[in-house]
């Protein structure tokens, strides 16, 4: 498959791009922030996502979805990134769907159609500490009655306080297992914290939460493969969103270089800035290609996806970081003001960079996957 968007994918982009630019541009995020919104996103905008079928993009058609791939989801995520649109799309429609599809079974049958119909927001309760270490799971699931009793704490759970269901990783006697824990479960509590990018992420406590045996996503002790599917999809999605964030910041910066005058000249005439901007453009193009490669490999079910997911998360992380740092610097004083949007790009990039493993984590993983 060639590494560019085909006509169908371009059509998707042509419908999503104006939709988000019109309905949920940066001013939309600003409004939610200034209104001290408690949900973390706009349900009205999400309803429009549902109308367009977007939440079920990755859900198989048999379960009410569109049966599309990561390349298509990436198109939506890039536009979300470019507009800084607050949305549960990444955790619900990408991460959760990837895990449920991989596992199949009761929980997939229950939640995939609900997600596709826009009736369920899903949060991913994977990490337990400030730095991403999904393999370190202290949360336990002990057999009890007909099912399991889950106890532990989870951190950095985006949308955790409003999710209809949470995917929770826990240790059983048989090994790592993923559970679908419904919002109303007794003993489940979420403590939402406002993050630097105005989003809300929860510290989640599972205080002896009882779930039925069929709450297991996939097989008891078979959580590793499902978790890996969840991580691969979410990381690739976050990388795509970062490409959008970086592109948005870069476009604003290039625009500014063409209108801001100092020393009687447009600042874009200065070679010092031209070279830095050209370098940034190159890094962004490489990051975009890498993210597309990871999406394509995931869609093909290729083993090489494992490596490319981390390459993409690390590379997109570096490129987007460069984009937002250069954006603030090249905007000068105005870039430091809250009134101007570039700072919002910097904040969102920071949150996405941390999400599901930062640059160091994924660079280290690239070394490990290559056996050194």
């Amino acid at each position: 498959m060639p590494l560019y968007h085909n006509d169908d994918q371009l059509m998707l982009k042509d419908s999503v791009s104006p939709f988000l630019a019109e309905k949920a541009p940066v001013s939309h995020l600003r409004r939610l922030r200034d209104d001290r919104d408690e949900t973390g996103f706009s349900r009205a905008i999400w309803a429009e996502f549902v109308e367009m079928g977007l939440p079920g993009m990755l859900v198989p058609e048999a379960q009410g979805g569109l049966g599309m791939g990561h390349m298509e989801a990436g198109i939506v995520l890039e536009e979300i990134g470019r507009n800084l649109t607050p949305s549960p799309f990444l955790s619900t429609s990408v991460g959760a769907v990837a895990a449920l599809s991989k596992a199949g079974g009761t929980q997939a049958d229950r939640w995939l159609p609900a997600i596709a119909a826009g009736k369920a927001i899903v949060a991913l309760a994977i990490d337990e500490q400030a730095r991403h270490r999904p393999e370190r799971v202290a949360t336990s699931a002990v057999r009890s009655g007909n099912g399991f009793r889950i106890s532990g704490k989870k951190a950095f759970v985006l949308h955790g306080h409003v999710a209809d269901m949470m995917i929770v990783s826990a240790q059983c006697d048989e090994g790592l297992t993923l559970f679908a824990v419904p919002q109303n479960a007794n003993g489940l509590s979420a403590d939402p914290r406002r993050l630097v990018d105005s989003s809300l992420a929860s510290h989640v406590t599972l205080d002896g939460v009882d779930v039925d045996a069929d709450a297991v996503i996939g097989d008891v002790g078979g959580g590793e493969a499902v978790l890996q599917a969840l991580l691969a999809a979410t990381r690739t999605g976050a990388a795509a969103e970062m490409v959008g964030v970086g592109q948005g910041a870069m476009d604003m910066t290039i625009g500014y270089l063409k209108e801001r005058k100092q020393f009687g000249r447009l600042i874009g005439e200065f070679q010092a800035l031209q070279h830095r901007t050209a370098h940034l453009y190159s890094e962004m193009e490489v990051a975009r290609a890498t993210v597309m490669k990871a999406q394509q490999l995931l869609d093909e079910g290729s083993d090489a996806a494992t490596l490319y997911v981390s390459v993409a998360k690390a590379k997109a992380g570096r490129a987007a970081n460069l984009a937002v740092c250069e954006a603030v610097q090249m905007h000068g004083g105005i870039g430091m003001t809250d009134e101007f949007d570039v700072g919002l790009y910097m904040k969102r990039d920071r949150a996405l960079a941390e999400y599901m493993g930062d640059i160091s984590y994924h660079t280290d993983r690239v070394a490990r996957l290559n056996g050194y």
């Binding site: 590494l3 005439e269 031209q274 193009e285 490669k293 590379k315 690239v366 070394a367 056996g371």
Partner: protein, 393 residues
């Protein structure tokens, strides 16, 4: 089985049956490369056999039309062909500036007669070409070149000199930018072709910091060039040169398609050693290698995307400058890391152990990557101007 899968299967079988075992080993030195030409001496029988077999199939230039010695493959088929070559680590049967540079220019600007004549020779490896672009006073500012061809009716008399002519001392013919109108800077250059054995052509190798001499200075003293021997329009050689530079950058930046996925860190862990945890036994170098590997794998994806887009007309015409910039900077970094990884052993310049100082010489050679074919700074200028449309660039 799709048409493409069937093609892949055919190529795989053909390569399996026709590529000699010796031609599946990695290229160690320049004498492992088959450059072709009148003066070329084959290193061994396998090298000649591999060339002959590929020539017969048009596989020295797989994507050229069959009437000019190619195999007439589509972009997708060429990609598959390269992937299958890479899969068995097959060496290119023939490398030459004729294939990479002159050929594409001829395909675009040549007359039918020129194409039939020159392209076929290139495809068969009969004529080795060199490139006469830079001059002592015209490097990055190439368009100020001074080598002059005086009009003498049916021929020109060329005087001047070129520099950085790769392998001029081994080449049979030169494609050369010559000023034919002193009053017009951009539209006063003609793209000429002539035999290096012509009266008045001399070459002098330039000793580089690597201790090697891949480049020459080339002098023209009243060289006669018939007026049939130029490409494109008279005085419009700059158009050909620009096209060709784009192609050169594409070539330098290519290699993304297929290619084996070798990680530098993995290769270096073997020589550096590992700690008890199995990690490369120098944590800072390990981190640098890993960051570099991220860039390499990322650049491979970029190379693939670039080629897919370039071949189907989707790429920005100036995007090869970006590829050249990123690719050459990366290659320089690779050799910095290779030098660090090897420690004091990589300082040895002549010993047998060091294969005659192969690594330090290669390291020094890479420093030219971001100078030749347009410096990194020129690449950034072009990106700023043509892609980003920045003012006054």
């Amino acid at each position: 089985m799709s048409e493409q899968d069937a093609f892949r299967a055919d190529v795989r079988i053909w390569l399996e049956e026709n590529c000699p075992a010796e031609m599946r080993e990695s290229v160690k030195g320049d004498d492992d490369v088959c450059w072709g030409g009148r003066k070329f001496l084959f290193k061994n029988e396998a090298q000649k056999l591999w060339l002959d077999r590929c020539v017969a199939k048009g596989y020295t230039v797989p994507d050229w039309p069959t009437e000019y010695g190619g195999a007439g493959l589509s972009a997708e088929q060429t990609k598959i062909f390269k992937q299958e070559m890479a899969r068995i680590h097959a060496r290119p049967p023939l490398q030459s500036f004729g294939i990479w540079m002159l050929g594409p220019a001829l395909l675009k600007f040549g007359t039918e007669e020129q194409k039939k004549h020159y392209l076929t020779q290139i495809a068969r490896g009969e004529i080795r070409w060199c490139q006469g672009y830079s001059e002592p006073g015209a490097g990055s500012d190439l368009v100020s070149l001074q080598t002059y061809g005086e009009d003498r009716g049916d021929h020109w008399v060329v005087n001047g000199s070129k520099i950085w002519t790769s392998y001029a001392d081994q080449a049979d013919w030169i494609f050369c930018l010559v000023r034919t109108d002193k009053t017009n800077k951009y539209q006063g250059i003609t793209f000429m072709l002539f035999d290096m054995e012509s009266q008045g052509v001399t070459t002098k190798p330039i000793l580089l910091i690597s201790g090697n001499s891949p480049f020459c200075e080339t002098f023209f003293d009243n060289v006669t060039v018939p007026k049939t021997q130029f490409i494109g329009e008279l005085n419009r050689g700059w158009d050909v040169a620009k096209y060709l530079l784009g192609h050169e950058r594409e070539m330098i930046s290519g290699g993304g398609a297929g290619g084996d996925m070798v990680s530098l860190g993995a290769a270096m862990a073997k020589s550096i050693g590992r700690n008890d945890a199995g990690e490369l036994d120098d944590p800072i170098l390990r981190a640098s290698m890993a960051a570099f590997d991220v860039d390499v794998f990322a650049y491979r994806a970029m190379g693939e995307r670039f080629m897919d887009m370039w071949k189907t007309g989707r790429a920005h015409p100036a995007s090869s400058n970006m590829m050249k910039y990123v690719g050459t900077e990366l290659n320089k970094q690779r050799y910095e890391l290779l030098m660090s990884a090897g420690g004091s052993a990589t300082l040895e310049w002549e010993s047998e152990d060091s294969d005659g100082g192969a690594r330090p010489r290669a390291w020094l050679r890479t420093k030219a990557n971001s100078i030749e074919g347009g410096t990194s700074e020129v690449m950034l200028n072009v990106i700023a101007k043509r892609i980003l449309d920045l003012p006054g660039a």
